[in-house]
Subunit: 353 residues, 2 copies
C-alpha cells in the first residue's frame, strides 16, 4: 500500500505530521503502508514554479492513496492564476479522476456546544454530502475574461454529460444503502437545464436501488433546510459548485470544522484524503492547529482505499476517547476542558490507539 | 402612482388582499395609488396558456410599481418548461429590467425564538443582501440539453459584462452608505473567471465610495460565515445564482421567512415587491397564511418606488406594534402568544396604522 503524502502549506505540515505518526503506529502493528512525500500548492510553486509539479504527478499517480494537509495562503494569492495553490488542488483532482467527494458533517456529542445552532436542532447530526468533483462549471469550456464590443465580459460554462452524473449518482446511492437509505439530490432544475438532466438521470438510476428513498430539492431550499432542520438529511448528492457551497455550510453546522475529514475517490477507490478545513496561515507554525480532521482523513483512507474497516474504526475510536477525556485544541476548546497543542493531541490519539 | 397587483398562486391571493387593504387605508388618508390587477404564474397559464401573458406585460410596463404575491404549485410542475410559473417570474424580471434584488434578513426581537440558531448568534441580526437579478447563469446562452456523441449533455452559461456588474455594484455601495457602511462582495474568484471580473469591477468602483469599507469573500466561506457569525455582515452583494442560495440561507437564519419582504428594482426605481416566501400550496385557501411579508413589501414599495419614507415607516411601525401585542399567524406562533388568521392579522395591522 503506497501512500503519497502531501503536507502542503500553512498548518498542513504540522497536522500531516500527526496523521503520519498515527499511521506509523499501525505500521508497527503489522500494516504495510509505504509513505512517500511530495509537494502540492504554494510550497510547490516556491520550489518548482508549478502548484502540481511533475514529480508530484508521478508519485501521486503511482500511489494507492494520497494524504493531503492543506494548500494556499495570502503569499500566493497575488500570483497569476495558473500558479495559484488551488490550481494544484484542482489539477490533482482532475488528473487522478477523483470525481466523488465524500464530506461527512457529523456532530460529536462532546462538541455540541461549539455549534451556533440550538442543541436540539443539531444534536446527533450525521449527514454525508456526496459532491461531484471533476466536472461542472469548475472545468467547463469556454471560460475566461475577454473584451467584446469594448466591454470586458466574464464567462464560465456549467456542463455535465449523463455519464458523469450517473457515476456520481451510483456512488451516492451506494453510500445511502450503507446508511439510513435516504438520498436527497440537490439541483436548480427550475432554472438550469444542466441540473434538469441531473435530476432526470438520478431518477433513471434510482430503479436500481429500490431500498433507497430518493428525494429532490432545489439548491436555494437546501441552503435553507440545512439551517432550519438539518437532521432531515441522510445523504445529499449534488454537483461541484452547489456541493462546494452546501458542504461548507453543512460542516459549519457542527461548529467544529477542525474535526471533519473528506475523501475524494476515483472509480477504483483510489482516493485523496484531506481535512475539510484550510491551511489557516494565521496559526501556521505555532503548534496549535487541530490535527484530528487529518487523522480522521487517514481513517477514511484505510476504510475506502484499503478496505481496512478495523484499522479505520480503531483510529476513530481513539479520537472519540481523546475527546471524551476532555482534550481540546484551541479551535474546539471550552470552559472545563483541557487545552492542548497539535503535538500533544497527536500523542493522546496514539496513546488511545 | 399606478400599481400593478399580481396576486399569483397559492396563498398569494390571500396575502395580497391584506396588503391591498393596508394600501386602501393610506389612500383614504390622502395617497393617490391606483391599483390594477393582472395574472402571473400558474393562474395565468390556466387562463391564457402563458405564465406572463401579454395583458400582464402591458399593465406591468405601464405601472410605476408591481406588487406580487407568490407564484407556483405542484399542479404546474408537470408542464413543459416555457409554461411553468417560475418562467413568468423570470420573464417579468427580465422584461422590466429589474436587475437589483434587495433582500433584507432582519430578526424581529419578538420572534427571536423562531430561529434555529442560538439567540446570541442572531439577536439584532440585520443584513441586506443585494442580488443581481437579470444576468448570470439564469439567462446566459448557450443553454439546454442536447445529444452529443450519443450522450445527453446539459449546458448553461455563466456570463456577466462589466456594465452589469458595475450597476449592481453602485446599488450595493449606495445601500451600504445608508446603513453601516460595510459591503461584502461574494464571489468564487479562485475558480470562476466571471467572478474574478466581478471582484475587479467592485474594487474599481469602490474608489467612488471612500466611506464604505469593501471586503470580499468566497461563496463557500460566505455560506459558512452566515451560519457561524451572521452579525459580521451589513450589506452583501453577489450574482444571481449565489444570491439565490445565500439570500435564502440568510432569511432562514431569522426563522421567520414569513416576515421578510423583498424589492427588485430597475435603474429608475421602478420596482416589483414580493415576500421572500413562496406560494405555500399546502395551506392555500385556508386563511392561515402570514400576510406580514407582503404588507412589508408594500412598505418597501412606498420607500423605494414612491420615495414616501413616512408612509413606509407608518406601515412598518404598525407591523411592529402588532407583533409586540402578541399576535401571531401559525408560522410564527409560540406558547404565550395569540394565534390569528390571515384576515385577523390584516385587521390588526390596519387598526395599528
Ligand atoms: C480551494 C478551492 C478551489 C476548493 C473548491 O472550490 O473546490 C475548496 O473550496 C474545496 O471545497 O475543496
Ligand atoms: C422561482 C425561482 C425561479 C426564483 C429564483 O431562482 O430566482 C426564486 O428561487 C427566487 O429566489 O426568487
Amino acid at each position: 500500500m503506497k501512500i503519497c503524502v502531501l503536507p502542503g502549506d500553512g498548518i498542513g505540515v504540522e497536522i500531516i505530521a500527526e496523521a503520519v505518526r498515527v499511521l506509523d503506529v499501525l505500521n508497527s502493528d503489522g500494516l504495510k503502508m509505504e509513505l512517500e512525500y511530495a509537494e502540492l500548492g504554494g510550497c510547490a510553486v516556491d520550489s518548482t514554479g508549478s502548484p502540481y509539479p511533475e514529480a508530484t504527478q508521478k508519485l501521486a499517480r503511482a500511489a494507492d492513496a494520497v494524504l493531503l494537509g492543506a494548500v494556499g495562503g495570502p503569499k500566493w494569492d497575488v500570483l497569476p492564476r495558473p500558479q495559484r495553490p488551488e490550481r494544484g488542488l484542482l489539477g490533482i483532482r482532475k488528473d487522478l479522476n477523483l470525481f466523488a467527494n465524500l464530506r461527512p458533517a457529523v456532530l460529536y456529542p462532546e462538541l455540541a456546544n461549539a455549534s451556533s445552532l440550538k442543541p436540539e436542532v443539531v444534536s446527533g447530526l450525521d449527514i454525508l454530502i456526496v459532491r461531484e468533483l471533476t466536472g461542472d462549471i469548475y472545468f467547463g469550456e469556454p471560460r475566461g475574461i475577454s473584451v467584446e464590443d469594448g466591454k470586458r465580459v466574464g464567462r464560465n460554462t456549467m456542463i455535465y454529460n449523463e455519464d458523469e452524473i450517473r457515476r456520481i449518482g451510483h456512488v451516492a446511492f451506494k453510500s445511502a444503502q450503507k446508511r439510513n437509505k435516504k438520498l436527497c439530490s440537490v439541483d436548480k432544475m427550475n432554472v438550469l437545464e444542466t441540473t434538469q438532466l441531473w435530476r432526470d438521470v438520478m431518477i433513471e438510476i434510482s430503479s436500481e436501488y429500490p431500498d433507497v428513498a430518493l428525494s429532490h430539492m432545489l439548491v436555494d431550499n437546501a441552503a435553507m433546510q440545512l439551517v432550519r432542520a438539518p437532521k432531515q438529511f441522510d445523504v445529499m448528492v449534488t454537483g461541484n459548485i452547489f456541493g462546494d457551497i452546501l458542504s461548507d455550510e453543512a460542516s459549519m453546522l457542527t461548529g467544529s470544522i477542525g474535526m471533519l475529514p473528506s475523501a475524494s475517490l476515483d472509480e477504483n477507490n483510489k482516493g485523496m484524503y484531506e481535512p475539510c478545513h484550510g491551511s489557516a496561515p494565521d496559526i501556521a507554525g505555532k503548534g496549535v492547529a487541530n490535527p484530528l480532521a487529518t487523522i480522521l482523513s487517514a481513517a477514511m483512507m484505510l476504510r475506502y482505499s484499503f478496505a481496512n474497516e478495523a484499522a479505520a474504526t480503531r483510529i476513530e475510536a481513539a479520537v472519540k476517547k481523546v475527546l471524551a477525556a476532555g482534550l481540546r485544541t484551541g479551535d474546539i476548546w471550552e470552559e472545563g476542558t483541557k487545552r492542548v497543542g497539535t503535538r500533544e493531541m497527536g500523542d493522546a490519539v496514539i496513546a488511545a490507539l
